[in-house]
Every structure is written in structure tokens, then in C-alpha cells.
């Protein structure tokens, strides 16, 4: 989230698209009801199904799964052609005026530089024209045909209301009503918030779905302001913390990157991380990268990381490719990965194409699961009749099932969608032999280290030199880890302008990342968490509801990264001169001497407005990017691509199948189904009664939603002779499942390119373990292909067939 949950109450318009907030985030959804009740805010829902969120919406518009970019492109086209944008904001705070290289272009569904064999782009043309000093050229009149604004107009012109209807199946009048309601928020005193979740991410072009809406929000001037923003509703209670701490195969904590193979040494790694400003006088905050990186290395290896050994750069792994979940299971199937640690994960249920997951796990030598629950993955080898039809005798994988504590059984912090780190205490002790994940991992580390010390090995250095300063080495305490995340001074840290002034004494905790140094005198595991646990105490444990200005930001409740800032890019809440766009919703503004207001300024606190430093200081341009340069693999603008399994050809580029820059393995490409055999569009989702596969283990939740079902329209039911509550078989080119049929008016056939298109909805929560009725799961059917940028699988749009059947044989 750019903003905070409590801030949503200040909005005028909530757009829920690519999510189902009432269903999946009912507690956070209260802020929408607040905005509706107290501000008269309106709620729009755009979704293939009439969801629980739609049940309380002011306006609902249906859409075919996997066509969001066409819809959002249509809105962008509407805003540009009806001149419904916030001009001053767009001119001053975005790259609309920047000139793009003359060789950049787009035709027949592809941007310049495409290499079909590699399924990848040479992105060198996707950049600005630079002047002699290396600054981007701009045209403040926005008239130059090569400026981003004009290129955008051109790129999105194809998404007319008629085209939106043709691709998305959204009736033209409904689309226009949504576009018109959104366009009202182009005035400085009306804001819109976007609430989205996995309905946007789980596509082969998920990141571009989100870009589409981010561009709309920039055109409307809604980023950095109260009641606005791009608000990702995180689906798992600490998934925000997971990404912050870099628990992705290619990341380091604080959104730094793990080096890749070609970055052979520290200098090569840093050479592409200069972040030189692209406009005169701009702040480019990532210029501090080295300080954060060196502090991270010092946190990892302490005294062993020195200037001489380049801060132990050689001890970091160098990536040849990214090891996302799809590649990992592909490698398992190829016999190239033979051991797997599965921590807090249930791949058999949650990764696509279950058949491939089962065969991958079956080829392992060993599998270790660490989970509070008895998961299906831990039992993948066990026969459960139709629900897990495996021959146990054929599976040689040795499974070690380690029970862990759950969140209520240990202390620590959980980061919410709004980036708030909230500390919690243990309520009870873990049952039986369950141990904390930290205890298990510390035990592993200490034993592996001992083996390395005893037996040597090819490369023991990163393991034996790891800093391990905990009071009880076998179980580091949550507070110790939290202090390590925050960072400390390893030598006296002095004021750069006055070396006699000591800012932080040796051994003391840092107050902020501004105190981090690149000379090895500070350590800090996750720079964005600096300030969360200081000498003043554990800031995450604060519980003061003080909320000046009734902003909903409660600055003394817990702690938000970065620097306890509650709304990102908040300098953009005021105009060029530092005056709030909306005086009734002031946030951060120029007081005459400094930036003041209700939030910690995301800006130099004393940088004068006349210095014209842009508000988006994490970008070397200082402005937000409507055109992303080479940052994304599949294009600098979002473009409509059909899902890899689609009922129709791409209406704007008929030759293009799927997202041309998304990676797909050979066998998975061959496993795709076609519309003649699988005529119905399926989508998977969550229900409010359950949380993933966890709560089916809980009696109350199991009673409230006991049995697996799929949802179809009355029209499809009639066509297929399916009765409400009867059994159906649903199959894709990868698998087959049985379910009860919920026949509903909430799903209706969509007219796509003049043809009725049926949607089959498949919820996610059942399996063969737990208290609820044993059931199947959509991932027996889903395709093994991910987003072009981050490999999130395409769970939300694929093709199936359906027929009535008899119930499963129950054991």
C-alpha cells in the first residue's frame, strides 16, 4: 500500500478491481464502509463475479477474467480524450513531458526490440532522450510527438469503449459509467483509492495490470494524497514482511538485489547502481545504495566483512537465473533439485498444475516441511482415494515433518498491508513438540557450521563466518532479531558536516537509515526497518491511538517503514509551491521554513519548493513514471495480452498468444488447452469463511463453509443439465476435479466479441487434510505459467470444460 488502511476513510471513490476486499479483507473493508457512511463515498466493483464486495457497491461492472488491461486502457483513453486529468499534477510530478528515444515504438502487439526465440526484449530503445550532461530532455508543453504524454495518447487510442466491450465483455454503457465516475476524481479536491489484490497479480501480465491503474491514479493526481493511492491488500498476514526482508530468490532485504552471475565483483555490482539524477538538482535517494548494502553485509558477517574483502561480496550467491517456484518445480521434475525445505507453504495445494507438483515431490530424495498444520504437501505420498490418488509404494521421497508454532504462539512483528510493523506477544505455548521456525533454523545452522568446521568443504566461508551474536545460540530471541533488522553503530557515527559531533555512539542502535555508512561503521540487516527498534525502545510495540487531524494515520501506533511514514510520496499532496491540493485534506505542506503536516515528509525536510525537486525521490527523475523505461520485461506501457489459455484471439494483435515476454517451459506450453476442447473461462479465488487451506482444520470455519464447490451461471447450468447442489466434473488439459455446483445469478455469460462466454468460478480452500469435507482444489487445473516480471502463476484465467457427474467415491 502507498497509503494506510485507516486513510481509506478519506476517499471519495473506492475502486475494487482485481480484488474482493469485503470477502478477503473484511476487517480492512470497514474503512470503505466508513468512507461511504461519513463522506458519502461511492464504491465501484469490476469483477467477473458479483462478489460480496459488489453486494454493497454503488456500481458493479462485469469483466472477463484476464482482460483488465483492456479495461484500464479504456479508462486511460477516456481520461485523455475527454481531458479529465489533473494537469498541474501530471505536468509537475510525472514524466509526461519527457522525450522518448525516436527508435522506440509499438506495432502489432510488440514493442521495439523483441526477440521471439528468447521471448524477451532488447530494451535499449525504451528510454529517454538525454542531453549532453546526461539529463533527460523534456517538453513542458506536452506537444512534442515523442513526449511520454503524446506516446501514451497514441498507445491507448485503440482501447475505445467498443473495443473494451469486445475484449472484456463489459457492456459499453457500464464501462462508460465506471470511466465517468473515475474521471470525476481528476479535480484536486476529489480522490479515488484503488484496492486490489491477487485478482491483479495472478496473471501472466499481473504487474502490468497494476501499472495500468497506477497510471490512472497519476493522471488523476491521486498518488501521495489522503484517500488516494495504490493499495495492495496483502493476502497473507506477513507477506509484506516477507517481501521487505527479501525472501524471494533474487532479492536482498530492503528491496536490494542479489547479484547476478555477470556481476563478478563488488565494483561490477555497484557500477549499475549509481542512480545518477536524470534531471538537474533532483534527489535520487537510491544513491545511498552502497550504505545500505555495506550495512547489510556487516550485519551478516560482522568483523569478517571488511573493506579489503569488499565487504564479503564474494560470499553472496550469484544468480544465473531466478529460482521462482515454477522453475524450482520444473527443476525437481528434471531431477535437478533433489532436496526441498518447505517452510510455511503448501505447494501441493497452492502451486499450479498439481500433477506436476506431485511428480516433482515424488522425485525428491528428501522433503522437509515446517508448518503448524498437517498439510497436504506433508502427506503428498499418502493415498486419499480420489482426493489424492497416488501409489505410495512408488514414492521414495523421505519426508521430515517438523511441527512449528503459529503466530499466536510466538512473539515478533507482523507487517500489515500499510507497511505497519506491529509487535505481538505469544498468547499460548506451542502444542506438543512444535518449535518456533527460528529454533529449527538455528539448529540447522549450528549443525551445518559444525560439519564445515570439522570436515572443511568446497566453500565454508559464508557459513562459518556468519555473525551469530545471540544470547542463546540455539534460539535467537525475536527482540534480538528485531534489533539486528534495525541496525547499530559498530563505531561512533559522526555528523558528516561536523566530525566532532557524535550522532550515534559505538554499540548503540540507529535512529534511522540516514545514519547508515558505507565504511563499515554501521550494521543493519534491513535498511527500511531502521528506526523500528531504537534506544528509545521497541517502536513496533507502541499502542498510542493519538491521531492528530483525524487522519487515520495514528503515528504513534506501531511503526511504519520507511521512517514511520504512513503515506508514500506524500510531498505530492501539495502543489509545486507546497500548498495542499485539497485544503480540507492537508497532509504534508511547506510551512515557509520546512515541510510540515501530519506525516513524516517523504522529501528533504527543508528543501524549498522553488528548488523544484520532484516528489518521487526514489526515482532518479524525481517524478513518477507513466513510461517505465526498461524497468519491466514486457513493456514500458501496459498492453492487452490474452491469458495463455483464452477463448478468443487477441483483438488488437491477433498473432500474439499470451504475454510475449512471459517465460513458459516447453512441457507446460504443450499442456495448454484450446478453446475448442475447453470452451469455458475459469477463475480461482478465496471465500471469506476460510483462509487458504488453514482454516479447514478449524471446526467453526469448516461448519460455515464445509464443502468444495464451483460456481456457474444459470444459463450454463441449463445448457449442460447441471442442477443446483448437484455434482459436476470440471477438467482442463492438466487435470480433472469434482465439485458441488452452486448455480447463481451472480455469474452471467459475457458477450465477448459477439459470442456468449461462460465463466466457471472455483474457490481455493479444500484439500484432503483437516476437518472440512475432503475436496478438490482449482490447482489441479491451473496452468504452469507466471507473470513476465515476477513469475506469479496465472491462477486467475484459464480454460476448462464442465459436465454433470456423480459424486466422488468417499472413503
Amino acid at each position: 500500500m502507498t497509503n494506510a488502511w485507516g486513510d481509506i476513510k478519506h476517499t471519495d471513490l473506492v475502486v475494487v478491481m482485481g480484488g474482493n476486499a469485503a470477502e478477503a479483507h473484511p476487517c480492512g473493508f470497514k474503512w470503505v464502509t466508513e468512507a461511504k457512511a461519513n463522506r458519502g463515498a461511492k464504491l465501484i466493483v469490476v469483477d467477473p463475479r458479483f462478489t460480496r464486495t459488489a453486494s454493497v457497491a454503488d456500481f458493479y461492472c462485469p469483466i472477463r477474467p484476464g482482460t483488465d488491461i483492456a479495461f484500464l486502457g479504456g479508462v486511460i483513453n477516456y481520461l485523455l480524450s475527454n481531458d479529465k486529468i489533473q494537469h498541474d499534477y501530471v505536468k509537475a510530478f510525472t514524466n509526461a513531458s519527457y522525450l522518448v528515444k525516436p527508435e522506440f515504438g509499438w506495432s502489432e502487439g510488440l514493442f521495439t526490440g523483441y526477440n521471439e526465440e528468447k521471448r524477451d526484449y532488447d530494451k535499449s530503445s525504451w528510454d529517454y532522450q538525454l542531453d549532453e550532461q546526461g539529463y533527460a530532455k523534456v517538453d513542458d508543453t506536452l506537444q512534442d510527438p515523442r513526449c511520454v504524454f503524446q506516446l501514451m495518447k497514441q498507445h491507448f487510442a485503440v482501447y475505445t469503449p467498443e473495443m473494451v466491450e469486445k475484449i472484456c465483455g463489459s457492456p459499453k454503457d457500464k464501462f462508460l459509467k465506471v470511466a465517468q465516475m473515475i474521471s470525476e476524481c481528476s479535480t484536486p479536491t476529489k480522490t479515488m483509492t484503488s484496492m486490489y489484490a491477487l485478482g491483479w497479480t495472478q496473471h501472466s501480465k499481473g504487474a502490468q495490470n497494476i501499472r495500468g491503474m497506477a497510471m490512472i491514479q497519476l493522471l488523476l493526481g491521486n498518488i501521495g494524497v489522503r484517500g488516494g493511492g495504490m493499495n495492495a491488500l496483502r493476502g497473507h498476514s506477513n507477506i509484506q514482511g516477507l517481501t521487505d526482508l527479501g525472501l524471494l530468490s533474487n532479492m536482498l532485504p530492503g528491496y536490494m538485489n542479489l547479484p547476478v552471475e555477470k556481476e563478478v565483483d563488488f565494483n561490477a555490482y555497484m557500477s549499475t547502481r549509481g542512480f545518477k539524477p536524470l534531471r538537474p538538482g533532483q534527489t535520487s535517494f537510491w544513491q545511498n545504495y552502497k550504505k545500505f548494502f555495506v550495512s547489510f553485509q556487516k550485519s551478516m558477517w560482522g568483523d569478517k566483512a571488511t573493506a579489503e574483502n569488499n565487504w564479503a561480496f564474494d560470499w553472496l550467491p550469484k544468480l544465473d537465473v531466478t529460482y521462482d517456484i515454477l522453475r524450482t518445480f520444473e527443476l525437481m521434475n528434471q531431477g535437478k533439485i533433489t532436496g526441498y525445505f518447505c517452510q510455511g507453504f503448501n505447494p501441493l495445494m497452492t502451486f499450479p498444475n498439481r500433477g506436476k507438483i506431485t511428480s516433482g515431490l515424488s522425485k525428491l530424495k528428501f522433503l522437509v516441511t515446517m508448518d503448524p498444520l498437517d498439510t497436504e504437501t506433508s502427506r503428498f505420498w499418502e493415498n486419499h482415494g480420489e482426493f489424492n490418488d497416488v501409489n505410495s509404494a512408488d514414492i521414495q521421497t523421505e519426508v521430515f515433518q517438523l511441527p512449528t508454532s503459529c503466530f499466536a504462539e510466538d512473539e515478533g512483528s507482523i507487517v500489515n498491508s500499510g507497511r505497519w510493523l506491529q509487535w505481538h506477544n505469544a498468547a499460548v505455548s506451542p502444542p506438543g513438540e512444535a518449535k518456533s521456525d527460528v529454533w529449527i533454523m538455528a539448529g540447522l545452522h549450528l549443525r551445518i557450521k559444525e560439519l564445515y568446521l570439522k570436515e572443511g568443504g568446497a566453500f565454508p566461508d559464508p557459513i562459518v563466518n556468519l555473525r551469530w551474536p545471540y544470547a542463546i545460540p540455539e534460539e535467537p530471541a525475536a527482540e534480538e532479531l528485531a534489533r539486528e533488522n534495525n541496525g547499530q553503530a559498530l563505531a561512533d557515527v559522526t555528523d558528516p558536516t561536523d566530525p566532532t559531533k557524535v550522532l550515534v555512539q559505538k554499540g548503540k542502535l540507529l535512529d534511522s537509515f540516514a545514519q547508515m555508512k558505507d565504511d563499515g561503521s554501521t550494521a543493519g540487516f534491513c535498511w527500511i526497518y531502521a528506526g523500528s527498534y531504537t534506544e528509545a525502545g521497541n517502536q513496533m510495540a507502541r499502542r498510542d491511538t493519538w491521531d492528530p487531524g483525524d487522519t487515520g494515520l495514528a503515528p504513534k501506533w506501531a511503526w511504519a517503514w520507511p521512517a514511520n511514514r504512513r503515506i508514500l510520496y506524500n510531498r505530492a499532496s501539495s502543489d509545486k509551491n507546497g500548498k495542499p491540493w485539497d485544503p480540507s485534506r492537508k497532509l504534508v505542506y511547506w510551512t515557509g521554513e520546512r515541510w510540515g503536516g501530519y506525516d513524516v515528509p517523504d522529501y528533504g525536510p527543508t528543501v524549498k519548493p522553488e528548488q523544484s525537486v520532484g516528489p518521487f525521490i526514489m526515482n532518479p527523475e524525481g517524478v513518477a513514471r507513466l513510461f517505465t523505461r526498461g524497468m519491466m520485461r514486457d513493456g514500458p506501457f501496459p498492453s492487452h495480452y490474452e491469458p495463455f489459455e483464452a477463448p478468443v484471439a487477441n483483438a488488437i494483435a491477433p498473432k500474439i498468444k499470451g504475454n510475449p515476454a512471459a517465460r513458459i517451459f516447453k512441457a507446460d506450453l504443450e499442456a495448454l488447452g484450446s478453446a475448442d476442447k475447453f470452451p469455458y473461462v475459469a477463475t480461482s479465488y478465496r471465500l471469506t469463511e476460510h483462509f487458504h487451506q488453514w482454516t479447514k482444520h478449524v471446526w467453526v470455519n469448516a461448519a460455515l463453509q464445509p464443502e468444495f464447490f464451483v460456481e456457474i451461471s444459470e444459463e450454463l447450468a441449463k445448457e449442460k443439465g447441471i442442477v443446483k447442489g448437484g455434482w459436476v466434473r470440471v477438467w482442463s488439459n492438466r487435470g480433472s476435479i469434482k465439485a458441488k455446483a452452486v448455480v447463481t445469478k451472480r455469474i452471467r455469460p459475457l458477450m465477448v466479441d459477439g459470442k456468449p462466454t461462460h465463466v466457471v468460478g472455483i474457490p481455493q480452500h479444500w484439500g484432503f487434510m483437516g476437518r472440512a469435507k475432503k475436496g478438490h482444489n482449482p490447482n489441479s487445473l491451473t496452468p504452469f505459467v507466471g507473470d513476465a516480471n515476477i513469475e506469479t502463476p496465472e491462477y486467475k484465467a484459464f480454460l476448462v470444460n464442465i459436465e454433470p457427474t456423480s459424486g466422488p467415491a468417499t472413503s
Binding site: P26, T53, V700, A703
Partner: protein
């Protein structure tokens, strides 16, 4: 189920007298269910099961979202989902209503109840069942114009929402209201709830629901559970909420003239029974009766745990 140690009783079933009220300051309370803010998340159902230590059966899907499929002796509240095409606007609406006891000012259940003190109405308006006095005759089911009470096959007692009288007695709101994430369920004095409803109705009217209004049916003297409905003119579209609920005329008759008549009939029956006993001999419990009773007890042990196992 009742917990009336600190609540004052206003009315008591099948009794001519009511215990004296020590305090006279009790305000009438009410639960306001704003159907237009409800997202159907069933947190209220979960909270009700947990607070009251109830265990609902893990059922099946019958093609709808409603689970369990009806109120039961263990599920005292239930979300009922209705799919409705609005003929006036052409729009589809998904109407979600939390069903449960309405706590009528003039409670049909209490009127119908023949067991002294099995149903009480407190001065704050809550209508509560007192299990130890219940004889399981199910007259309350007949007496209720909303079809709420359910008879347990385990202990032959009637059960329904208590409006968390135990929580209210110590100054807390009902568990369902506490759990509701969108404040669609609110609890307070009846006057405050009516004021709140007014604000909500104004908002709904501004959004085009011209028939929005408060459901507080006067046929039962008003209720202590009220609904804000978008379509007050058509309450029956909300899973059969009665338009003008009335206590069954049979119950009124039973409490009126029939009562005197019945008293005579009871006396007659007693005389008859005396002669039956002296002439035919005492009634015997047959073996089948014993078996049926044993079966029921066993089912009960499976379906509903004892208080000891619940605490685990």
C-alpha cells in the same frame, strides 16, 4: 441459557406474577442490523458459536452459501443469502440478512409457553429462554411469528439467540456485534439505534434506495432486533422476512378465553386420569421407548459435546 442475575424480569411465561423489580432505570436495548452494510462474512455466526460454546455440524454444500442450511439448536444466528433481480432498476442485488431472534416487545413465544418461567422478558427488552424450566413442548415455535426457536433432539429443550444476555448483564454488547467487521451490527439503547438507523436511511435514500427504512414491526409491539433495509416496502425478499408479523391467533386464543376453558379441561383430564389409573393401572415405559431414548442420548453425545469437552 438465561443469565439474569443482574437483569430485571418484566414478564415471565405461564406466570401470573413477576418477581419485583429492584431497579427501575433499565433502558430498552436493541441490536440494529444494517443489511446495507453487511458483507455476509459470517463472523457473527462464528462469534455466536464460540461465545456460547456451541458446536455446529460440518454439513454439506447444497448449492448455496447458507451454512448451516437453517437455524438449529446450535446455530442461533444464520446469514441468509438471496439473489434478487430488482424489476424497477434492472439491477441484480445480493441480499444478505442475518437471521435470528427478533426479541419482540410482545413475544409470541413467551405468550405461548405453558411452562412457568421457561421464557422471560427482561426490562431491557431481551427475551430469554430459561432451560431448566423448559419442558420441550415446542409451543414457542408455534408462537413465534419469525420461526426462530429450535428444539434440541438431545435434551428436548428450546434454543435461540439470547441477545447475549450474559454479556449485556455485565455491560458488554452481543458477541455478534463485537465481531462484525463493518459495524453492520450495532448495539445500544433502542432510541440510539433508531437515531443511527435514521442516518443510514438518509444515506441510502441519497443513493437511490427510495424505499429504505427501519424494520421494527409494530404487529409484535416493535422488536429489540431491528433491520435497516434498502427495500422496507418488500421485507419478504430478504429470505422471507414477514411483512406484518403477528402472533398467531391460536396463541392469543390460548392465552385468552381458551385458557379458562383449558383449565377446566385439565381438571377434567385429571379426573379422567384418576379413573384410568384405578381401572386400567399405571402407564408403562415400553422397551422401544427406552431404546429411542438411548439412541437420542448417544447422538447427542456425538453432536454436542459436554461442557467439559467444549472447554478443551
Amino acid at each position: 441459557m438465561a443469565s439474569y442475575q443482574s437483569l430485571d424480569i418484566k414478564r415471565r411465561s405461564a406466570s401470573t406474577s413477576t418477581p419485583p423489580v429492584v431497579r427501575s432505570t433499565a433502558l430498552e436495548v436493541a441490536k440494529l442490523i444494517d443489511v446495507s452494510k453487511c458483507i455476509g462474512c459470517k463472523a457473527c455466526q462464528a462469534a455466536c458459536l464460540e461465545w456460547n460454546n456451541l458446536k455446529e455440524e460440518i454439513g454439506v454444500n447444497t448449492g448455496v452459501y447458507d451454512n448451516p442450511h437453517d437455524l438449529t439448536p446450535n446455530s442461533w444466528t444464520l446469514m441468509r443469502f438471496t439473489e434478487w433481480d430488482n424489476p424497477d432498476t434492472g439491477d441484480f442485488e445480493w441480499l444478505i440478512r442475518k437471521d435470528g431472534c427478533m426479541h419482540c416487545a410482545d413475544p409470541g413465544c413467551l405468550k405461548a409457553c405453558p411452562a412457568p418461567g421457561a421464557i422471560v422478558q427482561y426490562t431491557n427488552g431481551i427475551v430469554d429462554f430459561v432451560s431448566e424450566n423448559c419442558i420441550g413442548c415446542a409451543y414457542c415455535v408455534k408462537g413465534c411469528p419469525f420461526n426462530i426457536p429450535r428444539i434440541s433432539q438431545v435434551d428436548r429443550k428450546a434454543y435461540k439467540c439470547t441477545l447475549c444476555s450474559d454479556r449485556v448483564a455485565v455491560g458488554q454488547g452481543p458477541a455478534c456485534a463485537k465481531a462484525c467487521p463493518t459495524a453492520a451490527i450495532m448495539f445500544g439503547t433502542k432510541d440510539d439505534m433508531k437515531e443511527q438507523a435514521d442516518r443510514r436511511i438518509t444515506d441510502l435514500k441519497s443513493r437511490g434506495f427510495s424505499n429504505a427504512g427501519l424494520y421494527d414491526p409494530q404487529g409484535v409491539g416493535g422488536t429489540h432486533v431491528m433491520y435497516v433495509l434498502h427495500h422496507l416496502d418488500k421485507p419478504e425478499i430478504y429470505a422471507g422476512l414477514p411483512k406484518d408479523p403477528q402472533i398467531s391467533p391460536l396463541v392469543s386464543a390460548w392465552k385468552g378465553g381458551a385458557k379458562l376453558f383449558a383449565l377446566g379441561a385439565i381438571a377434567f383430564a385429571a379426573v379422567g386420569a384418576f379413573f384410568h389409573h384405578t381401572i386400567v393401572g399405571p402407564n408403562k415405559v415400553s422397551e422401544t421407548d427406552e431404546e429411542n431414548a438411548a439412541d437420542l442420548a448417544e447422538e447427542g453425545a456425538q453432536a454436542a459435546p459436554t461442557p467439559e469437552t467444549r472447554a478443551l
